[in-house]
Symmetry: C2
Subunit: 138 residues, 2 copies
């Protein structure tokens, strides 16, 4: 009997995708959320760097291919329903001893908007831009 | 001019849903991934506890309604594309000074399967069951 391939255990959605959470191993920060198809997940495992499926561009997206901000993958986790993947990563590409930049806005994490109670309840950007995106995507 | 409602800023998907990541504030552990519709997110904000949309049951799901394992929400974050929400939570309902149980299997986190290289590459359960699910869902 052939053992079941680890890729076959994933419950791919109707579009053949699985949601993926990228968490920084050192800080525990959740820095990004994206999607993978079967080929993206296989390449991520083979390469040891995150390769996503870009839904907007409808193609494989080796994270950092344009920015240089690659993600080294240390560990992959799968949830109880086999339909969500969690990556433990190191976010590369910024100056040493500086927080890594995962977000295309030049911020450490994509989750930089916090719901706050001011005059009304509103989303406010609460994390600094570490590098001008124009300097990242030259 | 009426200010834009914070719920209107969310880019709901074709099914009117947004993916939600639940991260434990104390440990940084990602314990769960689920979905919310507009009403679920509004209730979460009003209640201060996580209310999801159960896609399998097609109804609102106040996390912990059956298990007692509610999630106190301390903070809500939104990503750069306005289409993913991150919750900073406390996972309630287990014995004091014990890790909270988020997973229906009785484990701390739903992400308890790790990709490992053994004879072949495979997903292996690497986190203990803290409480028998039969004792949780009585």
């Amino acid at each position: 009997m052939t053992p079941m391939n680890w890729l076959d255990q994933i419950k791919w959605d109707a579009d053949g995708l699985v949601p993926v959470i990228a968490q920084e191993r050192s800080s525990g920060d959740v820095v990004m959320f994206a999607w993978m198809n079967r080929e993206a997940l296989a390449r991520t495992e083979a390469l040891g760097e995150a390769v996503y499926w870009s839904r907007s561009r409808a193609r494989l997206w080796h994270k950092g291919e344009a920015s240089g901000h690659t993600q080294t993958v240390h560990e992959m986790r799968l949830d109880c329903d086999n339909d969500v993947v969690l990556l433990k990563i190191t976010q590369n590409g910024h100056e040493p001893d500086q927080p890594g930049i995962a977000c295309h806005t030049g911020r450490h994490s994509c989750f930089y908007q916090r719901l706050q109670q001011a005059d009304s309840v509103e989303w406010q950007a609460v994390e600094p831009v570490l590098k001008n995106p124009e300097q990242i995507y030259k």
